[in-house]
């Protein structure tokens, strides 16, 4: 094997922008060449991770904005997608992919990080799979296995309309939506926001191709999709259009609502017995904590103020809360799952 197959699908519709790489991965065999694919959707839509609930989305808002919702076969949460995002996918035979997910990301997101650096962005791999500039996410990533193919996917965000993303999400309150937007503006960046306004889509593709070819020690070979891949892509387009696929797999209903902005920034809301709690956590700190509802008195609000602005380490937070007796324990029960989900 000497070649890295490069399939540039160019500008595509929403369905094909997802079906393309699902189909390429599905037709992989043990002998297949690694394939780097690119696409850029011309119509905005919302992508949803395989195990995530449709309830995380504001269906009415998506419908009003004519945003299709497409459930992908890889993980992660809901994402707003438009033509200011260039998507890249590396598909390779499962037999040659690292069997552990952190190693898979380290090996195959590393070239993307290098490509960002070549484009003038001081990117780094943060945590398992966030490509960031300091604490700002510059690329959404994910991975999965479809058939005998393993995929690592990501995007180059040229510009990101944070408000359109939050408009597509369901929140229990306007204040939590505003808090999410605030954190998203701070922790989701783009080439434009980082000052790299001169980078073109072609330049990004060329740089990613060179970087992945170097990592795999393969020569890039521009190709188009094969007839077998087109059949598989068509199958995925039909599946994505099927309401049963969109409904997703049956998974238990979770209590509370968590919107993850990056590996270390998220907002959490939950309620129980007439008491609601909203929290935002970023970079190891509880930035905002609001408790309201039946029986909530000045004592609870004082405790919430004491917690906000300090470490989000679950053990430390719970120790502090338990020292406040019944009121503290009530807050701990509501806040605890929102600290531990990560």
């Amino acid at each position: 094997m000497t070649g890295l197959r490069v399939v540039d699908a160019g500008e595509t519709g929403a369905l094909r922008s997802q079906a393309l790489w699902h189909g390429i991965a599905e037709t992989m065999t043990a002998d297949s060449q690694p394939t780097l694919s690119f696409c850029r959707p011309t119509e905005p839509y919302v992508g949803l991770g395989y195990h995530r609930s449709l309830e995380e989305l504001d269906a009415e808002s998506c419908s009003r904005r004519a945003l299709a919702i497409i459930r992908r076969r890889i993980g992660g949460g809901p994402v707003y997608i438009d033509d200011q995002q260039l998507f890249f996918q590396l598909s390779l035979p499962a037999a040659i992919a690292p069997a552990r997910v952190d190693l898979l990301y380290r090996r195959f997101l590393g070239p993307a990080v290098e490509a960002f650096r070549t484009l003038g962005i001081a990117a780094e791999l943060r945590g398992l799979n966030d490509i960031t500039v300091e604490d700002r996410k510059i690329s959404g990533t994910g991975a999965g296995r479809i058939g005998d193919g393993v995929l690592v996917v990501g995007n180059v965000i040229f510009g990101f309309p944070h408000h359109r993303m939050t408009d597509a999400l369901a929140f229990p309150s306007d204040s939590q939506a505003a808090e999410c937007l605030r954190l998203m503006r701070r922790h989701v960046s783009s080439l434009r926001d980082e000052g790299a306004t001169g980078v073109t889509f072609e330049e990004a593709k060329e740089t990613l191709t060179a970087s992945y070819a170097a990592e795999l020690d393969l020569t890039p070979e521009a190709e188009t999709t094969t007839p077998d891949e087109e059949v598989a892509i068509g199958g995925w387009e039909r599946r994505f259009s099927d309401p049963r696929w969109l409904a997703g797999p049956s998974t238990p209903r979770r209590t509370g609502s968590l919107v993850k902005i990056s590996g270390d920034a998220w907002v959490w809301s939950t309620s129980d017995a007439g008491v609601s709690l909203e929290a935002s956590i970023a970079c190891g700190r509880i930035e905002r904590l609001h408790v309201a509802g039946r029986g909530i008195n000045g004592s609870s609000q004082r405790i919430a103020r004491e917690i906000a602005g300090h470490s989000s380490d679950p053990t430390r937070v719970e120790n502090t809360l338990h020292a406040h007796g019944i009121e503290g324990e009530r807050i701990a029960r509501l806040l605890g799952p929102g600290l531990r989900l990560h």
């Binding site: 398992l128 296995r145 998974t251 238990p252």
Partner: protein
């Protein structure tokens, strides 16, 4: 049957093991087997955040997907170690997937009514000596590949 457990890795040698997928099979009766991850399978999966299963009644072939697993935004199929019909899922595991990481042998994922138990059990690894040797070799291989902490 009394479970025979290895002191270090917690392997229950009375079970059958699929070498490809690192899933165990436990025969509850002639009509019911349970499946779950062995400790190496759970460890190399990463922190599991979601599992989903095909509905009860679904017929699956050995090697076909009976569900999906998600860890760190990676979604992969769960491949059946035996053919048969899915009887039920472990709802506790579906609600709290991290239990698989915490104690994979105590937390089964699905029960299957097997089609060809005698034939397919023969394709799985069984017996203390064979399992012990395989598990030690797999652990060594995974450590060599950097898949496990040494």
């Amino acid at each position: 049957m009394t479970a025979q457990k290895d002191q270090t890795g917690g392997i229950d040698y009375s079970r059958y093991f699929d070498r490809e997928t690192h899933l165990w099979v436990k025969t509850m009766s002639r009509e019911v087997v349970r499946c779950g991850f062995d400790p190496l399978g759970a460890e190399t999966s990463g922190d599991i955040v979601a599992v989903s299963f095909e509905p009860p009644g679904t017929r699956i072939e050995r090697g076909a997907a009976f569900g999906s697993i998600e860890a760190a935004k990676f979604v992969g199929p769960l491949l059946a170690p035996v053919s048969g019909s899915i009887i039920r899922h472990n709802h506790e595991v579906a609600a709290e997937p991290g239990l698989i990481n915490a104690d994979p042998q105590a937390h089964w994922m699905i029960e299957i009514e097997p089609d060809a138990l005698d034939v397919e059990l023969g394709e799985l690894l069984h017996g203390e000596e064979a399992v012990r040797e395989w598990f030690a070799a797999e652990r060594k291989k995974f450590e060599h590949e950097g898949l496990l902490a040494t």
